[in-house]
């Protein structure tokens, strides 16, 4: 699964990290980063992170 983080939108709230801390991490630049391309069986959590991101910075495909 491919996850895209739009860095023009992300403000580093870390709500994505709270959903799945082994997938998302807010780095020292104050932006979310992907720690790994998530496996297909993590779809539920990724979708939840996409839905919860307050700035709509996340999208997932595949």
């Amino acid at each position: 699964m491919k996850v895209h983080i739009d860095t023009t939108r992300c403000t580093g709230h870390g709500l994505c990290e709270a959903v799945a801390e082994d997938i998302f991490e807010v780095g020292d630049d104050g932006m979310a980063h992907l720690l790994a391309d998530p496996d297909a069986d993590r779809r539920g959590e990724v979708d939840q992170a996409v839905a919860e991101c307050p700035t709509r910075a996340l999208s997932a495909s595949g």
Binding site: T11, G14, E25, V26, G27, D28, G30, M31, P54
Partner: protein
């Protein structure tokens, strides 16, 4: 830094008010338990309800006919997430305060995108979980230090002392100022001035007459801005690793921040960083005193059980009781027609007791998991910047307290009247044995 100044009035003279009172000083001078009886009735209305403005405000606004009360969990989350409909720029307090004061104090919490986005980015990195793990040793050392001080104060005062002054307010003060880079000595002064700055409904801090109150509030703000300006000036010359340095050197759209902007950030972080964590600790110790079986459960496996316990303590305390938004355009909310300019006030304490989302909400259950409380906000763009810092601090402090003083008891909390922060002014504590 208010970008959207809504000129429309809030409501109109002919919109009928809900019959339940949540606007009087008397209502806000009772306890959270008493207020919850009213909120539970409002939640049963199944929608948002319209109420007259808060009574006897410092500033009367003739265009202010009232506010919508958001008391249900789902509605609070919705208002929080609809930041294009419900703006923060026109002000975030239930009450009207002088514009200059608000401007000097609110920084990003009173901004809307796109400015909010750019400004919040400047500080985000200093409060991430990753950064908190890096400074956790320091947070734990500060927790040990304040519990050392509490032990000394207990001894000095004959076994009974004020938990707020001797412990609860010290930990968040040291941690937020370590992050910002405010030296010892000055941090105590800044914390005191901001305690004044948030106590506009408490004669003990600000006096009785409107003139006294306004004078004292402006004095508190001038002090804090002066301190921030001088620290930022020093850091422009000699940059260090702290947050004031990064703000002093930051650029937004090619421009550095003004002293006023840095000052407002400083005031926001001082207020948000001190008061909320202090309230959680104080209400938390009181809850552990009221519910000894819960304390015993926690003591049985402190390390393993602490993370869940902290979440429940933050729900139980709900340190911030209200935040306001203002409708930026006509829209619908929970079946009601909202008009541009309407004030919309979110009642966090009510949403945290909403039985539709929190099971057995009136029970303190330190083992509650998951715990979907909204004490840090309903998941929007203003979601609490310091939520990880607060959680790390509360874990460190309750671990230290319950390891060294497992039988520490709390007396009756003395509350500051007001509708914004759930402030305990003083609360005595002593060891049971």
């Amino acid at each position: 830094m208010t970008q959207h100044v809504t000129r429309s009035a809030s409501g109109s003279p002919d919109r009928p008010y809900d019959e339940l009172d949540i606007s009087s000083r008397a209502f806000w001078s009772t306890s959270a338990d008493v207020r919850e009886k009213t909120f539970s009735l409002l939640r049963e209305r199944g929608t948002v309800t319209w109420h007259p403005p808060f009574q006897e405000q410092l500033l009367e606004d003739p265009d202010d006919y009232g506010f919508w009360a958001v008391t249900r969990y789902d509605d609070l989350v919705e208002v929080t997430k609809r930041h294009e409909d419900f703006l923060s720029g026109p002000g975030i307090l239930m009450e009207n305060l002088p514009a200059e004061l608000v401007e000097a104090a609110q920084s990003i919490i009173g901004m809307d995108p796109p400015r909010h986005t750019k400004m919040r980015r400047l500080v985000a990195a200093a409060f991430t979980p990753k950064q908190m793990r890096r400074i956790d040793d320091r947070i734990q050392a500060n927790a040990r230090m304040v519990v050392d001080d509490l032990e000394k104060a207990l001894e000095r005062d004959g076994g009974q002392t004020d938990f707020v002054a001797e412990c609860a307010e010290l930990l968040p003060m040291h941690n937020i100022n370590d992050i910002m880079g405010v030296p010892d000595g000055q941090r105590q002064q800044a914390a005191h001035e901001m305690k004044v700055g948030t106590s506009w409904n408490d004669p003990e801090f600000v006096g009785e007459t409107k003139e006294e109150v306004l004078g004292r509030l402006f004095q508190a703000m001038t002090f804090s801005h002066g301190l921030a300006t001088s620290l930022a000036g020093e850091r422009r010359e000699n940059p260090t690793e702290d947050l004031i340095s990064s703000l002093a050197h930051a650029e937004v759209d090619g421009e550095t921040l003004t002293d006023e902007e840095i000052g407002a950030f400083f005031v926001l972080l001082t207020i948000a960083g001190n008061d909320t964590t202090r309230q959680s600790t104080t209400h938390g110790l009181r809850a552990l005193t009221d519910y000894p079986a819960q304390r015993a459960w926690l003591l049985d496996d402190l390390e393993e059980r602490m993370p869940d316990a902290v979440e429940e303590i933050v729900r139980w305390a709900t340190p911030i009781m209200t935040f306001r938004r203002t409708a930026g355009r006509d829209c619908q909310l929970a079946g009601q027609q909202i008009t541009e300019g309407d004030k919309v006030v979110m009642f966090y304490s009510s949403a945290n007791r909403d039985e539709s989302r929190i099971e057995r909400p009136h029970e303190l259950d330190l083992s509650r998991h998951p715990n979907p409380h909204i004490s840090f906000g309903g998941g929007g763009i203003h979601h609490c910047l310091g939520n990880q810092l607060a959680r790390f601090q509360l874990k460190a402090l309750f671990t230290e307290l319950l390891t060294r003083l497992p039988d520490l008891q709390a007396g009756e909390p003395e509350l500051t009247p007001g509708n914004f922060l759930n402030v305990v002014k003083r609360m005595s504590c002593w060891r049971q044995s």
